[in-house]
C-alpha cells in the first residue's frame, strides 16, 4: 500500500486518517497515530513553519521507505503542516499500521525522530516581544541516532 505523504496548510482529522488506513481490510491489527501540537511555551503566540518544497517530500518518502523495509507495515501516513499555526493547533501526524503493535509503535517513533532531524522544516516562534527561530535540539539528534 502506497504511503500517504502530505505537506499542507490545512488542518487534518486524526480519526479520519486512522480510519483510512484500515477501512475495507481485515489484516491490520494495530494502528499507532502520533500527533504533534503547538505548545504556548513562555507566552508563545504563534509558530510559523517554513520548508524546502521538493526536498521535504523526498526526505520523508525516503524515510517512509526505510521504515517499510525495517518493519512489516500495512500502511503509513505522514502529514506535516506549514504556515502560521496558533497554540493548540495540530502540526504533524504520523500514522503506522501493521498486523501487530510493536512494528506500528516502532515505525511511528522512528519516523517522528527522523522528521525532527532530517526533514527540512524550520520553525519561527512569535511572542509579544518579537520572533525567534527555533534552534535544533541535541536531544532530537540523540533520539534519531537510536535507529
Amino acid at each position: 500500500m502506497a504511503a500517504r505523504i502530505s505537506i499542507q496548510h490545512e488542518d487534518f482529522d486524526v480519526a479520519a486518517e486512522s480510519a483510512a488506513l484500515t477501512d475495507g481490510r481485515t489484516d491490520v491489527g494495530a494502528v499507532v497515530t502520533f500527533s504533534g501540537l503547538v505548545r504556548a511555551d513562555d507566552g508563545l503566540t504563534s509558530l510559523t513553519l517554513e520548508h524546502y518544497p521538493g526536498m521535504t517530500e523526498r526526505e520523508i518518502a525516503r524515510h517512509v521507505a526505510e521504515a517499510e523495509s525495517r518493519w512489516p507495515l500495512l500502511g503509513v501516513t505522514v502529514i506535516h503542516r506549514i504556515g502560521k499555526l496558533l497554540p493548540g493547533a495540530r502540526i504533524v501526524l504520523v500514522a503506522a499500521a501493521s498486523a501487530h503493535r510493536a512494528a506500528a509503535f516502532e515505525a511511528a517513533n522512528f519516523l517522528m525522530d527522523y522528521l525532527k532531524t532530517r526533514a527540512p522544516f524550520w520553525k519561527l516562534e512569535e511572542r509579544a516581544d518579537g520572533s525567534e527561530w527555533v534552534e535544533a535540539r541535541r536531544e532530537d539528534d540523540d533520539a534519531a541516532k537510536r535507529w
Binding site: 523526498r58 532530517r118 526533514a119 524550520w122 534552534e135 535544533a136 532530537d140
Partner: protein, 83 residues
C-alpha cells in the same frame, strides 16, 4: 546554478533564491560558502565562520566537502526543526 536560502539564512541574505554562474575556483560547498561570505553584508553575517549552517545539493543533505557543479541546486539553511 541555483542557490536557495531558508529560515534565518534567507532573512540575513535578504533573498530566498538566486541564479549564479559557478565561480572559478569554487568546487565544493565550503568554497561556495566562502565565496558568498566574501560578498559582505548579510552574506558575511549568514556565512560567518563557526556558525552552524547546513547544506543540500540537489535536495540531498551533504557535508561541506561535497562537490558542486554548474547546474546544481545548492541550498543553505540552519539545522532543521520539524515535527
Amino acid at each position: 546554478m541555483t542557490l536557495l536560502y531558508f529560515a534565518w539564512v534567507r532573512q540575513k541574505v535578504g533573498q530566498s533564491e538566486e541564479r549564479i554562474d559557478l565561480p572559478p575556483d569554487v568546487g565544493t560547498v565550503a568554497e561556495l560558502a566562502a565565496w558568498l561570505a566574501a560578498r559582505g553584508g548579510g552574506f558575511a553575517d549568514a556565512f560567518a565562520g563557526g556558525r552552524t549552517l547546513r547544506a543540500a545539493v540537489n535536495q540531498n543533505h551533504v557535508g561541506w566537502d561535497a562537490a558542486i557543479g554548474a547546474n546544481d541546486e545548492v541550498a543553505f539553511f540552519p539545522p532543521v526543526t520539524g515535527g
